[in-house]
């Protein structure tokens, strides 16, 4: 049988030590700046936050990635100071923010292109028009194109295997709006993944595939994929490149990335410093993590908006 006494004492001692350990260290809270939102914008905010730590190690900057929609909800609820967004703010979100009396400022911090890709051995197609892409991706009710030879009789009589981001992603929302014409309006029988690396692998393993995802994922896997040009109407097809994405000639699949900043963050001493630092470094960081820096005009525009928000 067990000896109860010493065991019980040991157990009490263990619990006491644990409770003591938890109570220690409840000190005063340091100044913090909270960022959350789109996982697409996340790498830029992370890079900026990391660099800012070198300048002001006393300020705690945290970056989350709960998605543009989730971030906006937290932004409205006053739980975060800056919201990362891979799309422009929606009217409904502006309303909610007005109602919550949260004045904010929008800054465009980088550009991202959505790359349309096929298998490297695909030798029949070099570019597609927006109309062709729309005919492939439109909802099943509108009888989308299923086989390559339906687009062009000279192309193979094989089914187009479609790969794209999951329906919760900002990329999906942007692509469907730009191509099909209505956000989230899309056929449902494509292979979706929230992880763009899975899409890269899938497209590179299937000769009759067609997929789309952020340009950075193409740039890291140029050997495994073939990039398609996209043509608007009768215009010449344009392949995405840093220049084409920045000057928006790769339309309609180049999109701006935003941060939304609560104006009252600027009243906090470290807040203004951080936002200024962000705007200053955004271009450099965007390029470093695989996005396209905004043009000088947009950067100047950002600075003007910042000054205006600061003056209030």
């Amino acid at each position: 049988m067990t000896q109860g006494g010493p065991l019980a004492t040991q157990r009490f001692a263990f619990v006491a030590v644990c409770v003591l350990g938890a109570a220690v260290g409840c000190g005063p809270r340091a100044q913090s700046i909270k960022i959350d939102g789109s996982s697409t914008v996340y790498p830029i905010s992370e890079a900026v936050a990391e660099s800012f730590r070198g300048v002001r190690p006393d300020i705690r900057v945290t970056v989350g990635l709960s998605g543009t929609g989730g971030g906006m909800k937290k932004f409205t609820a006053g739980e975060i100071d800056i919201c990362d967004a891979s799309r422009g703010i929606k009217d409904s979100e502006v309303e909610a923010l007005t109602e919550a009396e949260v004045p904010f400022t929008e800054f465009s911090v980088a550009f991202d292109g959505i790359a349309v890709v096929v298998h490297p051995e695909n030798d029949w197609v070099d570019s597609l028009t927006v109309e062709q892409l729309a005919s492939i991706w439109r909802p099943l009710d509108d009888a989308p194109v299923k086989k390559w030879n339906e687009l062009n009789p000279a192309w193979p009589d094989e089914e187009i295997k479609l790969y794209g981001p999951g329906t919760d992603s900002g990329t999906f929302e942007y692509f469907t709006e730009a191509i099909v014409g209505e956000a989230k309006s899309c056929r449902s029988d494509f292979a979706a993944s929230e992880d763009d690396n899975v899409l890269v692998t899938s497209v590179s393993e299937d000769k009759y595939s067609l997929g789309y995802f952020g340009f950075a994922y193409y740039a890291e896997n140029t050997g495994k994929l073939k990039l398609l040009g996209v043509a608007q109407g009768e215009a010449e097809p344009v392949q995405p490149s840093v220049e084409a994405i920045r000057d928006n000639s790769y339309a309609p699949l180049s999109r701006p990335l935003f941060i939304y900043v609560r104006n009252d963050l600027l009243n906090r001493p470290a807040g203004a410093e951080f936002v200024e630092f962000y705007l200053d470094k955004a271009g450099e960081m965007a390029a470093e993590v695989g996005y396209v820096a905004v043009s000088d005009d947009v950067a100047a525009e950002n600075l003007k908006k910042y000054q205006k928000a600061l003056a209030k």
Binding site: M1, T2, Q3, G4, L7, A8, V15, C18, V19, G21, A22, G25, C26, G27, R29, A30, S32, K34, D36, S39, Y42, P43, S45, E46, A47, A49, E50, R53, R60, V61, T62, V63, G64, L65, S66, K74, A77, E79, D195, D196, N197, G214, A216, Y217, A219, E220, N221, M285, E288, V289, G290
Partner: protein
């Protein structure tokens, strides 16, 4: 011995095709499980070991893979499982002791029991949303270590209760009767006889629960754990990250180097898990040996 031999020869006589086929199928199931596990481990190790370094353990996340580390995520995970254990073990064991040793068999007890069994199967994201509403917003704990740990407590509590109940049921009722016969009170019986005897089983449940808490990402995302924190949480009110979130974040990046880092972080997570398991095995060995009936 001779009886065993008899049974054995009997089985030879009755060795039908179906019987041996069933044996082979069960063996195949075992080997498939092992193969999958070994495959996973080997892949993770091959990808992750080159990235394992002191820098990984002592640095903050970075855009430069060579400088990136898991320090805040590792510290966050340790905080989380520490507090989760601290809250869920007393509560869970207490609830199990009440249900097994004190509560009368009534419709009320059956209802509670049924609910606990069902709660063990609820997807963790549901607890995450509950945690967001209850701890983060209603109790305004914000996106803190304590809010995350309490949410994880909700996730693992049913596991602790159910496994503790199993362990208590496995203690022979003769032990309780002997204790009462010697004049012990119910408190003395439970605290000095039943609980120590059930300790190995309880520890198994606790370890399962902690392992679950360590690997959960979904409920933490819901309560607002962040992916980038450039500081180690120092108090219950601090914001935090956790290893599964860091792994997810790195695995999603376009750059190949971050995928290696993700594998290395998985190795770190596994190492923490193995350390915890070893601790539990030692505790079980220490207290399990003392008990002889």
């Amino acid at each position: 011995m001779s009886r065993n031999a008899d049974i054995h020869s009997l089985e030879i006589k009755r060795s039908y095709l179906g019987s041996s086929l069933f044996g082979w199928l069960c063996a195949a199931a075992t080997y498939i499980c092992i193969a999958v596990l070994v495959g996973l481990l080997v892949t993770v190790l091959v990808n992750g070991v080159p990235w394992l370094s002191w820098t990984l353990l002592t640095s903050f996340p970075s855009r430069d893979p060579a400088k990136a580390g898991v320090l805040p995520a590792l510290a966050g995970s340790l905080w989380l499982i520490g507090i989760t254990a601290l809250v869920s073990i007393p509560t869970g064991v207490g609830a199990a002791v009440y249900l097994e040793e004190y509560a009368n068999s009534s419709w009320w007890r059956k209802l509670v029991q049924l609910n606990i069994s069902n709660l063990a199967g609820v997807p963790s994201i549901v607890y995450g949303i509950l945690g967001l509403g209850l701890f983060v917003r209603a109790m305004s704990l914000e996106r803190s270590v304590i809010a995350g740990a309490l949410t994880l407590t909700l996730v693992v509590l049913p596991i602790v209760i159910l496994s503790t109940q199993e362990a208590l049921r496995a203690v022979p009722s003769t032990i309780r009767q002997a204790s009462y016969a010697l004049g012990a009170t119910r408190w003395q019986t439970v605290w000095l006889q039943v609980l120590p005897a059930a300790l190995p089983g309880v520890m198994t449940g606790v370890i399962l629960a902690i392992a679950r808490a360590l690997g959960e990402a979904a409920p933490l995302v819901a309560v607002g754990a962040v992916a980038f924190v450039a500081f180690v949480p120092q108090s219950l009110g601090d914001e935090f990250s956790a290893l599964p979130l860091q792994i997810f974040n790195w695995a999603e990046r376009p750059q190949e180097e971050f995928h290696g880092l993700a594998s290395a972080a998985i190795v770190v997570l596994l190492a923490v898990l193995i350390l915890l398991n070893t601790g539990a095995v030692l505790v079980r060995a220490k207290y399990g040996r003392r008990i002889k009936w």
